[in-house]
């Protein structure tokens, strides 16, 4: 199970890399195989499938590429939320980039399923508040404790599977295209910020994005 999923993720990454290379080589015909394209900032920030947190009408978007098992994504999350809330005019786009194998993918699937049920924030908050590594049982317990019905989430995910799987594939492709090193990686305005960010760093980045 683990191996299979990891390889799937890997293939996605390699595909995306291939797409990037192709894009660099033949930029005018930006089209790469399998629909992987060099993404624009717009496509990253305004992917229609991706849930939006914070203020959806905000003038600045913070994009975070993250993984539910990435320790620094999770330790960084309260700070991020605090900054977004305090600002009040920031769109927060959490982009799943599952790099830690099957449990990460599973967590992402259920959270995205929650988006169909208008409970993405609850699922995301609950999963981001977990400590350390995850497994299937821990994920389900966490979501259940947050008042969610895991079976319903799973059904919702399966119902729109092509949308969510497409989103995850695009996320990976975008991460590769922007040469993101790993998670967490922030895109704020037109700048890429690799790694965890503290409060001041986030505030400065938002201020910079506003110009």
């Amino acid at each position: 199970m683990t191996k299979l999923t990891r390889r799937t993720a890997l293939t996605g990454g390699l595909l995306a890399l291939g797409g990037t290379a192709l894009w660099t080589a033949t930029r005018p015909s930006a089209q790469a195989q399998d629909g992987a394209m060099h993404p624009t900032i717009e496509e990253v920030m305004f992917d229609p499938a991706n849930p939006v947190l914070g203020n959806p009408e905000g003038d600045v978007t913070i994009v975070e590429f993250f993984d539910y098992q990435c320790p620094y994504c999770k330790s960084n999350h309260p700070v991020l939320k605090e900054v977004v809330e305090a600002d009040g005019n920031v769109r927060l786009v959490m982009k799943d980039w599952p790099i830690f194998g099957a449990p990460s993918v599973r967590a992402a699937q259920l959270a995205l399923g929650a988006a169909s049920l208008d409970s993405y924030l609850t699922a995301n908050d609950a999963l981001m508040a977990t400590e350390g590594r995850l497994d299937e049982t821990l994920i389900e317990e966490t979501l259940t404790e947050a008042g969610l019905d895991v079976a319903a989430l799973d059904a919702a995910y399966r119902e729109n599977r092509s949308t969510w799987d497409g989103l995850l594939t695009r996320n990976s492709a975008q991460a590769a295209a922007f040469h993101l090193r790993g998670t967490p990686a922030f895109i704020i305005g037109t700048a890429i910020y690799p790694g965890a960010m503290d409060k001041a760093g986030l505030e400065n980045a938002v201020a910079t994005a506003r110009g």
Partner: protein, 619 residues
């Protein structure tokens, strides 16, 4: 955004990482003061293949040893290490337990800092290795997968594009890979050709004669000086006159025993295949010999008569002219003397051992070393024979001579102990010895008004010894190291910068791949210093040679690599074989093209001039 570091991971760890550590410490302090402003932002994450530099060592049995050199501030997850065959079958990985992180944000995970190792059993075809890690406190990388080329039955070049394709035929590609991995970086000089030449031209006789000649030459180096007092002490220890015949006999036995010890060393070395120099360099052996010298000295001072048990002496003296105890003593001294010459004879010994190793001819090796010992003993024999005859008749002066030898023996013990003890302690011992000598000579005795020249000279000598002792004592108290310059430590810091700042810096390597990596980094001449914690002579070199200004200047533009054999394992043995060295201390000088300069290799404890000359040879 991408930062490309021009340094390989090993160098980064050796040089840059401490700098970074210091820098980040400073930054942390600054950040704390500035209440965490922009300062505590992490440095941009490195490329994962740079942060986790993977090195693969194909093993002779077809397995692979994977080693990750992990940059400071990065770690690799044990659980996310995996390997697959070309067609996707999972391969078992042997890994060491990592460090268990119990941080809440980590959960309980096993991670590796600095270095990780894994072993993959023998497998056909290429292997995909996947690893994953994080920058501590910064970013977590997606898994990285590297494809390792096949070992032995390597995939044909064309198949490389499709790892799933079956490996069709053995290709020479692997050989080149192995060569790159294990070694072609350097070309050793064919210096040991002298031996080969000898045996090719004249067979064993010429080899033996050659070694006899080597020994004779060695006898005129300071290495053999310690032997003279030992032998003379032996002769002086006789109660009664020593005739030429007796002297010749005694010194002959002494020399034979010494040569036999060498021969035995050669034989044992050939038999065991082990490196005897390694054993002789052990603090243990040196310590034992130092203690023997103290015991000898005390005997010279008349504390006790050092004799073998009566039964032994009777048996042993049966060989000689019937005088008790002395031949056995001569033999024992001769035998142990071979050991005390350790550092000086490392060179010929190394040559002989290499020769033995190469031919596998234990007896010839033993014979060669025996001949070496004999050659070395010739001057001793002459001194023993004629020096003894020239000695005046026995009398009270004999006690003085014995005491003098006692002092010399104690000096030998201190000299040997200097390899084991810290510099100031050795200096203090020298001070104590000289002080005692000065007092016993009579430096503090009252001179009668009408004294003649002799007592006054004695007093002068005694006072001189005491004066030097005082200097040394002061030097020891000031942390001095060098008995020749005891007060060096008292010089103001401005004149002599602290040892930490001007120490010669070596890049440590412990295996052939590490050496290759270090050499790849060198863009000029390089010097490889084979050393180890347990090599006592190396300690002397570290203390005397590297701080020397002339040496430092000569090696200024040279990449300095320390082949550290402190943990002497198979990697260490491979490193020794690679360098064609028998053991520490050895210095190999390579020019910019990676070729060893002919005749430049230094084995044992060389002088400053030799190091400078060898360093010039590779400029």
């Amino acid at each position: 955004m991408t930062r490309i570091s021009p340094y390989p991971a090993a160098l980064r760890r050796a040089i840059i990482a401490p700098l970074l550590a210091a820098l980040s410490l400073a930054l942390f302090a600054a950040a704390a003061l500035a209440q965490g402003d922009a300062f505590d932002r992490q440095s941009p994450p490195m490329d994962p293949r740079e942060a986790f530099a993977l090195e693969v060592e194909p093993q002779p049995d077809g397995s692979r040893l994977l080693r990750w050199d992990i940059a400071e501030g990065y770690y690799l997850y044990r659980d996310y290490l995996s390997a697959e065959t070309g067609d996707g079958a999972t391969l078992p990985l042997e890994t060491e337990p990592g460090i268990t992180q119990d941080d809440p944000t980590f959960g309980t995970v096993e991670v590796y800092f600095q270095e990780a190792e894994a072993r993959i059993g023998p497998v056909q075809g290429p292997v995909h290795v996947t690893y994953q890690g994080c920058q501590d406190g910064g970013i977590c990388y997606p898994p990285v997968t590297d494809t390792l080329p096949a070992i032995e039955a390597a995939a044909a070049p064309a198949a490389g594009a499709d790892p799933a394709a079956p490996a069709p035929a053995p290709a020479p590609a692997e050989e080149t890979v192995a060569e790159q991995a294990s070694g072609g970086g350097i070309t050793l000089a064919e210096d040991s050709g002298l031996l080969d030449g000898l045996s090719a031209r004249g067979g064993p006789i010429l080899v033996l004669a050659g070694f006899f000649g080597f020994g004779l030459l060695l006898a005129f180096t300071p290495c053999v000086f310690p032997m003279f007092p030992i032998l003379a002490g032996l002769l002086a220890g006789q109660d009664g006159t020593v005739g030429a015949r007796r002297g010749a006999l005694l010194s002959g036995v002494y020399v034979l025993a010494m040569a036999a010890a060498f021969g035995l060393l050669g034989l044992i070395a050939a038999w065991s295949g082990q490196n005897l120099q390694l054993v002789l360099q052990s603090p243990w052996a040196v310590g034992v010999v130092a203690v023997i010298f103290v015991a000898l000295a005390l005997s010279m001072f008349g504390l006790y008569e050092m004799r073998l048990p009566q039964a032994w002496t009777a048996r042993l003296s049966g060989v000689g002219a019937g005088r008790g105890g002395t031949l056995g003593g001569a033999a024992a001294l001769g035998f142990t003397s071979a050991l005390i010459m350790g550092p000086c004879v490392t060179a010929p010994l190394a040559g002989a051992l290499l020769y033995i190793a190469r031919t596998g001819d234990a007896w010839l090796g033993a014979g060669a070393l025996f001949a070496l010992g004999l050659g070395q003993g010739v001057p001793l024999l002459i001194a023993g024979t004629f020096g003894a005859r020239m000695l005046p008749r026995a009398g009270a002066w004999m006690e003085g001579v014995k005491a003098a030898f006692g002092v010399v023996f104690l000096g030998m013990a201190i000299w040997l102990g200097g390899r084991l003890l810290p510099g100031p302690a050795v200096l203090a011992l020298w001070a104590a010895l000289l002080l005692g000598a000065g007092v016993f000579i009579g430096g503090l005795d009252r001179l009668e008004p009408g004294s003649g020249a002799a007592p006054r000279l004695r007093k002068t000598a005694g006072l001189a010894a005491i004066l030097v002792a005082v200097f040394m004592g002061l030097g020891a108290a000031a942390g001095g190291q060098d008995p020749m310059r005891p007060l060096a430590g008292l010089r103001p810091a401005a004149a002599a910068p602290g040892p930490a700042s001007d120490e010669i810096a070596f890049t440590p390597v412990a295996s052939v791949p590490e050496l290759d990596a270090a050499l790849a980094q060198a863009d000029g001449p390089a010097m490889i210093y084979v050393t180890a914690d347990w090599c006592v002579t190396c300690k002397v070199i570290d203390r005397r040679l590297w701080p020397d200004p002339a040496v430092r200047e000569a090696l200024a533009d040279t990449t300095l690599i320390a082949a550290d054999l402190s943990e002497f394992d198979t990697a260490g043995q491979a490193l020794l074989d690679h360098l064609g060295s028998v053991g520490p201390p050895t210095m190999v000088f390579l020019d910019a093209a990676g070729r060893e300069a002919p005749g430049s290799r230094l084995i044992g404890e060389p002088g400053v001039e030799e190091v400078v000359a060898s360093a010039r040879a590779i400029r």
